[in-house]
Symmetry: C2
């Protein structure tokens, strides 16, 4: 061995030049630099960064006094309230891990999550009390966590079912609590359960390093200036609100809270609080685009919107942009801290037609600034597919904003990281310009007579029909072909269209083997985040009586 | 020992979820997402991100073929040309360390640096050829590096003195070279020698992690949008241009190169290239503010300017802002990757008078988004001073944008990191709002009769005199008082002011013990970056004949 090179000698990590990356530092910085600036708005509640920091320290201190520390789970079941924001800091400041639970789940699913996460404390609130009560009743008594109730002054109804209110609990804490950051930036910060459509949900573990980097990646993707005003349309239980609680501390912005996603209230808050940024599923955008003109009056500033979950329909983008909203389409999974792919706009497209622009924007895009690797590849060989916009492959990610792994599930963690890449399970094509476009979930692809059919492609054609409002296509088992496409369609009010007319229309617009063999008219079942629940449709399509 | 908690089991770093942070990834991303966008402009030369990336890979490949790899030093002596930008990527992509040498040094100082850095390759260019030649002649023959000449088509004069031209050298390299990022984000990326005013310069080593984080911190401090257009007024040899080569790749912006810092050319490039961001010492701002009105015509967009090195004078800030320039004052040292403190604007100050605003902006400020710790403290006890705007202490920093250490100088590294903080050597007060304000370098403080006199404070008073253009105050040895202030003053053209009148003016505006005992009229000696060379003044003040 030769002696180490000159740069590898006596230049070690010491406390002066190394600190574990953690988004908790952003809160302390915001409170120290802009103590009087508004951090959180919720109805009549309006708290500064100094006040919010004090409350987070109280929460951390009270948790410690309760015996909660490193490796313990604190779960929260709560809409987008200030306390939910605080929990993103206070819980990890106590060394513990925050598990934010999807508020649309039923009691059994919540109970499964609370138990699997080994929850020691559950923070809940009035509107959630029925679900929380049901879930708690399903737990074995020795697994019952301490329950803390948020008593939101802006909400009537529900009940307080816990051991102590949130305000009483944090009153036990020291507002000057000397918290410490993580020993290691690889330490867990949060736990997010995937809303799996089949089987039990998996617990995705995030670490401080990834949360820090994705919080910053949001700023970079959006070119987000300091002191932005952010509206909480996206649930905080969804990948920790795509890491935006930490992003907002990093930019010392304003968090405008929102209990219910309703167009009127969204537009009212945009007007009165001068909201300039928010995130939401395309369904939220559609809601805003479709609002009555008088609700939109008085809004003249530019508002940036990030959307994900499904490609935003062209008409919705166009209407939003006419209203002064700039839409950015992003893509990600719970396993990637939310968005890790962004449809970054290219000025070369400025001259295109509105329809072409919408089509370009409907693609998922390229990797976010802090994501190191992204490819569309053959799932067996991990060889990238050609960038021909045609060959379908699986989307793979690699880098610092990929999860730590699945909690207590080493085999699935290993499988999902096989070959040095995270296997997303989403199927896409790669365009010549490097942008990826999702064609389907692996399990949503329809394989008919040996040919792959993208259900999204068939749906796209259906959506373009002027009388069709909503459409979903799934595989139906078929003796001859293996699988055939089955279409579920919602018509626009007043429309009259027969199954035969839908099939005729498809015949004009797609290859023969892609044409749905069956068309069913109904209201599509959707999840809380606006995703069509295809597993319900698939079940229906394959039941004997419906075949 | 209890068993590890559930979050510490089976959730390890694997290639899918961990990659060493490195700003080199930003270049690869820029080239892959915006291959056709302009990366670099220099006179008639205009190169895209794809082309720039190819050239950087060629450079890295050619260096490897030359036997250069991990732990080797490649030095560059060059103005702000495209090749200098490329070296910030190509050299570390080869695994080597880039040492960008101050172009204003004399041959002896350059020779010292080349030898101390164990330079294996020197990249130089025509305008630098005399200095480079002189430095090379001073090296022992066995230390002579391979010399590569940049032959800038926009420059006439100088000579090619090396072994090969840059273009011929990189032509040996593979434009598809499969480079690898660092094994460890703690690996060295660059080496920057401090321009010490006494003794030999010290080699400050940066690592990939710090360069990545400070590149991003620049974006955050400035709220810098994607695809910004950046003018290279700040030398790249200065803390790697404050890490802006990497910042510009992170935002896929445009690097507008600049060989000489002259107002006319700066304004011309702002107009024609639509430059929207640049950095420079207050002297550069003064140059622009003082330019003829016809040179400023036709500039209507907002331009953001970062300045450091000395507090920008109020009048300059005011004139710049009237022209549509928004000035941000930052502060840092070579040891902190350039700016790690930023005078972040607070909207609460908007209503103040112009003079008050300038005074607020002249303070150094608060820590940059990616710097974890900043304090003003007693250098002996490391106890923070009270935030009273009066008590002078030393500035200390801690965190991820503090250098790896000094090359081959463990005792000084250890000393500068003593107590877990980096000792800046700058003296400041801490304001009640948490903003720090530099009062002096430790060595610039004047201790007279046991009282500390801030030379900056005395200079501030002198600057406010309508007939004084430039002023500097240093300590002069005195038998009775130990030290007394000695003022060096440049008058405005046409002004007539005697030493006695200056002293009378001071008497009206400061405590008796602070009044300069001697006033000398002359043109102040300044460094390449606009800093007054106080060591020259100090020497002069203390020479027998001048006492």
């Amino acid at each position: 061995m030769s002696e180490p090179n000159i740069y590898a000698r006596e230049l070690d990590r010491v406390p002066a030049n190394y600190e574990a990356l953690s988004p908790l530092t952003f809160l302390e910085r915001a409170a120290s630099i802009h103590p009087n600036k508004t951090a959180v708005v919720h109805g009549r509640v309006r708290r500064s960064w100094a006040e919010t920091y004090r409350r987070c320290r109280q929460l951390a201190s009270a948790l410690n006094r309760q015996g909660i520390g490193k490796g313990d789970t604190v779960s929260i079941l709560c809409p987008n309230l200030p306390e939910h924001f605080e929990a993103h800091f206070g819980v990890p400041m106590a060394g513990a891990v925050l598990n934010s639970v999807n508020t649309r789940l039923d009691a059994a699913a919540v109970a499964f999550i609370l138990q699997h996460a080994e929850t020691r404390i559950l923070i809940t609130e009035r509107e959630m009390s029925a679900i929380a009560k049901g879930a708690l009743a399903l737990l074995e008594p020795e697994h019952r966590p301490l329950v803390i109730d948020i008593d939101d002054p802006c909400y009537e109804g529900g009940e307080l079912l816990g051991d102590i209110t949130y305000e009483a609990f944090i009153a036990n804490g020291d507002p000057e609590f000397e918290w410490a950051g993580p020993d290691d930036e690889w330490d867990a910060i949060t736990l997010n359960y995937t809303s799996g459509t089949t089987g039990n949900p998996k617990g995705v573990v995030y670490h401080h390093r990834g949360a820090y980097l994705n919080a910053v990646s949001n700023v970079m993707s959006w070119g987000m200036p300091g002191q932005s005003v952010y509206l909480w349309t996206l649930p905080m239980f969804h990948c920790n609100g795509w890491c935006f609680p930490w992003t907002m501390a990093a930019v010392t912005g304003v968090n405008v809270c929102l209990r219910h996603v309703r167009a009127e209230q969204i537009l009212e808050l945009i007007r009165t609080e001068k909201v300039d940024h928010f995130c939401g599923a395309p369904i939220v955008l559609g809601m805003i685009a479709g609002a009555a003109p008088e609700q939109k009056a008085g809004i003249s500033h530019t508002i940036k919107v990030m959307t994900a979950g499904a490609p935003p329909p062209a008409a919705v983008i166009q209407r939003m942009e006419e209203m002064g909203f700039v839409v950015t389409h992003v893509y990600g999974l719970t396993e990637t801290y939310g968005p890790c792919v962004v449809c970054e706009w290219n000025d070369e497209w400025n001259g295109r037609s509105v329809a072409e622009k919408a089509k370009l924007k409907a693609r998922q895009g390229v990797r976010a600034p802090m994501q190191e690797g992204l490819m569309v590849a053959d799932p067996a060989t991990l060889q990238p597919v050609p960038r021909d916009a045609e060959t379908i492959g699986e989307i793979f990610m690699r880098g610092n904003i990929v999860m730590k792994g699945y909690l207590k599930n080493a085999p699935t963690t290993e499988e999902s990281f096989a070959g040095g890449w995270f296997h997303s399970g989403d199927l896409a094509v790669w365009h010549p310009d490097g942008y990826i476009e999702i064609k389907d979930r692996s399990k949503d692809i329809i394989i008919s007579g040996g040919e792959n059919i993208s259900s999204i492609e068939v749906e796209d054609v259906l959506y373009r029909h002027p009388q069709i409002q909503d459409a979903a296509v799934v595989a139906r088992k078929d003796e001859k072909w293996g699988e055939v496409p089955c279409a579920f369609v919602t018509l626009k009010p007043g429309a009259t269209l027969s199954a035969g007319e839908v099939i005729d229309y498809c015949r004009e617009h797609m290859a023969r083997f892609k044409i749905p063999k069956k068309v069913v008219f109904l209201e599509l079942p959707r999840t809380s985040t606006g995703k069509v629940q295809k597993f319900i449709l698939r079940q229906w399509a394959n039941e004997e009586g419906n075949a």
